[in-house]
């Protein structure tokens, strides 16, 4: 492997230096003179007609500037687009005529302070007539179900059944088949910062300035389009720090509303969600999925074929949510040699809060569904679950490996990572501990999962799920500039929500230019200054932004080497780059220093090679490796380019009396290729495990039969604290990607993609001796307690022979 000077080394993150001082600059910290504030009147009903709105009393309060309804605002807007071809499913920030979920925004109140706005909102009278609603996704599929969007003609917003390979033959030939159903509950990433949007319109420049806590691809373009403004009339400031996102900080409807209000009122306006607004009407809930799976396998434990039906409840409106069924196409067989697959993906609308992109973009639920099947097959055959996985893992010598759905996995060594994780966990000792706990009469179990993290986020699911969409690239860009004094600045074109992009870019540029990374400044430009970018989604920034930064830095380096060669009248290539200076190959006495090259480039036109532009500023727009492919007619496509791998080993115990789970040991074997910033990778992995623990055991957006969200605060939607999250051991492995600049792969979703599956595996192992099992998340104490009570004491405990 190449020797790196800065890549892979420990380094204090650049952005943390302001955060520990309390000097971050989040969207809620932006102070503008004359700022007005918004409060929302939300629908109390899951489905209703709006009969009237009376705002007279509210408008009479002092400090109230405007009270706006959808009827007034929406005719000046373009609808926000659904991610699939469903033009009748229109979506605006405020409801018009009908409401489709409890929490949907109906009226916006603008006042001098948020408190005044809330006072006024309480006085707005909205008269509703309730209509039929549907909350359960399977009920929504029935012919008699009320339609969430009657104009669309169906509650199914998207459905396609893919067949890749000889599924029926493989099923007919298999010695065994087994089918099961698993339920992934509606949870989300729930950042500690809610959405914030602050906008200011300038009548003279006709520019809308936007400071928003967002992590969203193509945000300025979509915002401008919805507001019927030219793209260059919207300036999104990417230099706001975003207080966590992990996928959900889209906030388009928030910003469309606030942008429109700022322009209408001629005053800067802010909307800062409170927690209930965020949970109920923030449109940030995650996948809500029912899987029906069948696996065909032999006595040897090798799974030959799989049929998977996934019904996903996107809620009352659609953004990119249906596409979260699309990304897993690129890893539909997990890390296994499964030969053929049927994938029937159904996206259904209900009268619930809309779904948004969540860490992994649908992959973690899919991984959980596959892994549950692997455990069931092992249990059915009486085979050790680890041994069973070994027999199914793609061997290291078969990469690049083409899976049935058309995606090629770039590289990996799954068995080695599994071995490393088992060794770190002390697997034999864990088994002894589990059995000792069992001997004490406790319920104890070991969980294992082996899962993929597709990374490098291309958007191939867009053309796959919408033939009118011909997107085949999701480039990212960087600009590197050396100023007249020789200092280096890199410019990136998105905001950051904790991924330490300033650290990433300065490390990479420092590596290429051999300059100390701490001397390199990284700037988050605004959308009028930035190069095109697709934002930090799909575990892509180490690959894509890292690749773009390296590309731009290499152009700077090449230019400086060309200047040096010209100075020596030597052919290009005669000099090499050493410690930031140009040095003659074989004769280190002949060299030109960085400072001199900077001087020539900026000021000595007479010393530049003929035809060379003066100055030192280069950009690079990097195309997603393997991008550029339109899906085949049978729906095969290269989804993401790179594939990280993780193996989780967990020891858990369950209190039989209370259903409470304790995790005693947690090990993750992780391979994301070359790590640019190991601390960043490890941090995200720890955080991903904690998030996965939440999804597996605690977190659920629960709705009553009436469609009311019953977990809208942190008192009933439970986030794991330091007391639930165990100490975690990470074991690294490195299989470089052949497709990327330094061999890196993505890691932003690490931990979350295999965590829920492994924890569920451990709990089912613990429950097995009691004859109980659970195939639904979250496995709350109440759910476990019920499962134990339902298992008849006499039920045969088919324990795996481990």
């Amino acid at each position: 492997m190449a020797e790196f000077r800065y890549i892979g080394k420990r380094r204090r993150a650049v952005e943390h230096r302001r955060f520990v001082r309390g000097q971050g600059r989040y969207a809620a910290d932006i102070q503008l003179p004359g700022l007005l504030h918004v409060a929302i009147v939300a629908s109390p009903h899951a489905s209703a007609r709006i009969l009237s709105v009376n705002a007279d009393a509210a408008l009479a309060l002092p400090g109230v500037h405007a009270i706006i309804t959808g009827d007034e605002m929406n005719r000046e807007l373009e609808p926000m687009l659904p991610g699939v071809d469903a033009p009748a499913v229109t979506r605006f920030p405020l409801a018009r005529g009908v409401v489709r979920y409890a929490g949907e925004w109906v009226v916006a109140v603008v006042a001098e302070t948020r408190a005044f706005a809330e006072d006024a909102a309480e006085l707005v009278e909205v008269e509703y007539e309730q209509t039929q609603h549907v909350v359960d996704p399977e009920a929504a599929l029935l012919p008699e179900a009320p339609l969430v969007h009657p104009a669309h003609g169906s509650n199914i917003i998207w459905n396609r059944k893919f067949t890749w390979g000889p599924v029926e033959e493989d099923f007919a030939a298999a010695e065994h088949t087994l089918s099961y159903r698993v339920r992934w509950a509606r949870s989300s990433t729930v950042p500690i910062e809610t959405f914030v949007a602050t906008c200011a319109w300038n009548d003279a420049t006709e520019i809308l300035d936007v400071w928003a806590s967002i992590q969203m691809p193509k945000f300025p373009d979509q915002l401008a389009r919805a507001l019927r403004l030219a793209g260059n009339a919207v300036r999104v400031h990417y230099d706001v720090d975003v207080g966590g996102s992990y996928g959900v900080k889209r906030g388009l409807k928030h910003t469309v509303l606030v942008g429109w209000l700022a322009r209408r009122l001629g005053r800067p306006v802010r909307f800062l969600e409170d927690r209930l607004e965020n949970m109920r009407g923030g449109d940030m809930q995650g996948p809500d999925r029912i899987f029906e799976v069948a696996m065909a396998f032999g006595r040897d434990g090798v799974v030959r074929s799989m049929k998977m039906r996934a019904v996903d409840d996107v809620g009352a409106y659609s953004g990119r949510a249906p596409l979260q069924l699309g990304k897993p196409v690129g890893a539909i067989v997990g890390p296994y040699i499964i030969n053929s697959v049927v994938y029937d993906a159904v996206s259904v609308m209900t009268n619930k809060t809309p779904q948004e992109a969540v860490r992994g973009f649908g992959q973690s639920p899919t991984n959980y569904a596959i892994e549950t099947g692997m455990d069931k097959v092992a249990r059915f055959l009486g085979m050790d679950r680890v041994e069973m996985r070994r027999r199914n893992l793609i061997p290291a010598d078969r990469f690049p490996y083409l899976i049935p759905s058309g995606t090629s996995y770039d590289s990996g060594d799954y068995a080695t990572v599994l071995d490393k994780a088992l060794a770190a966990a002390g697997h034999d000792e864990l088994l002894r501990q589990r059995d000792a706990l069992r001997a004490e009469g406790k319920l104890a179990g070991i969980g294992v999962s082996t899962c993929l993290e597709p990374s490098g986020g291309n958007s191939s699911f867009e053309p796959l799920f919408n033939p009118k969409n011909t997107t085949t690239t999701w480039m990212d860009s960087c600009l590197v500039r050396v100023d007249l004094n020789g200092a280096v600045t890199a410019v990136m074109g998105t905001s950051t929500s904790g991924q330490a992009h300033e650290t990433l870019v300065s490390t990479v540029v420092g590596e290429v230019l051999r300059r100390e990374p701490d001397t390199i400044r990284v700037i988050h430009a605004d959308s009028l200054n930035a190069l095109p970018s697709n934002s930090p989604v799909g575990s892509r920034m180490a690959i894509m932004l890292g690749g773009a930064a390296a590309g731009a830095a290499k152009r700077i380096r090449a230019k400086m080497l060309a200047i040096a060669a010209h100075q020596f009248q030597a052919p290009e290539g005669a000099l090499e780059w050493e410690d930031g200076d140009a040095v003659m190959r074989g004769d280190p006495s002949r060299q030109i220093a960085w400072s001199r090259l900077v001087e020539i480039a900026h000021r000595e036109f007479h010393n530049l090679p003929e035809g060379m532009e003066p100055g030192l500023q280069e950009k690079f727009v990097w195309e997603v490796p393997t991008g550029g492919m339109i899906p085949t007619a049978d729906g095969r496509v290269q989804m993401y380019p790179c594939h990280s791998f993780e193996c989780h080993i967990v020891l858990a115990s369950v209190d039989a009396e209370t259903g409470k789970v304790a995790l005693h040991r947690y090990v993750v074997g992780h391979d994301c290729g070359v790590m640019i910033s190991p601390d960043v990778v490890h941090g995200m992995t720890y955080g991903g495990v904690a998030h996965g623990l939440g999804a597996a055991l605690m977190e659920k957006f629960a709705f009553s039969p009436e469609g009311q969200l019953v977990s809208g605060s942190f008192m009933d939607y439970l986030l794991p604290s330091a007391q639930e999250v165990p100490s975690i051991t990470i074991v690294d492995h490195c299989t470089p990607s052949p497709l990327t600049e330094f061999g890196q792969k993505g890691s932003g979703e690490a931990g979350y993609l295999g965590g829920p599956a492994a924890i569920a595996s451990a709990i089912n192992d613990a429950l097995a001796p009691a004859g109980a099992s659970i195939d639904a998340l979250p496995m709350t104490p109440a759910a476990i307690w019920r499962a134990l009570r339902e298992a008849t004491p006499a039920a045969p405990a088919r324990e795996a022979a481990e």
Partner: protein
């Protein structure tokens, strides 16, 4: 609305006087009146701990107190943790060294909770650390590197986890 009332609160060592609406919370007072935006808001119902500050040396949730309630008292926010301008407290430095944060949103509250812990217990065990930050939610870090940072700051760990 009720007529504004006057409060006098010592914040990070400086006496601050202001007229506030009686319903103004301490966190809104710090952020909106004093422009001390280092203290964050995550839930406004006392669960997340993002708004934590020290009140006469003890950690409290600034979202659950009215500014008027702390009239005459002394508040320390994240902006007041460093011993001097341009310096960091040992704990802040350890947070950097151990990569104990990502988005930084929970960090001010975490620093307050851990500053309090170390003041009471200079050599906390892992369990004591997890107990002390049990009321501060972080969605980024999984808490591990925060535990590492507190150990490092208390001289109990040579190298951080990484």
């Amino acid at each position: 609305m009720t007529a504004p009332i006057s409060v006098e609160i010592t914040v990070n060592g400086t006496v601050r006087r202001a007229f506030v609406e009686p319903r103004t919370t301490l966190v809104d007072f710090l952020r909106d009146h004093l422009a001390l935006t280092g203290t964050h808001v995550g839930c406004e119902h006392g669960i997340c701990g993002a708004c934590s500050v020290l009140l006469d040396g003890a950690p409290v949730r600034a979202c659950c107190l009215f500014a008027a309630q702390v009239d005459g008292m002394s508040v320390t926010t994240v902006e007041g943790l460093a011993p001097a301008r341009g310096e960091l407290s040992k704990l802040q430095d350890a947070f950097l060294e151990s990569h104990a944060l990502q988005c930084g949103y929970c960090t001010p509250g975490m620093l307050i909770a851990c500053t309090d812990l170390l003041a009471r217990n200079p050599q906390p065990s892992e369990e004591e650390i997890r107990d002390a930050i049990g009321g501060n939610l972080c969605r980024c870090t999984g808490y591990q590197q925060i535990v590492d940072a507190v150990k490092l700051a208390s001289g109990q760990e040579e190298a951080a986890h990484g």
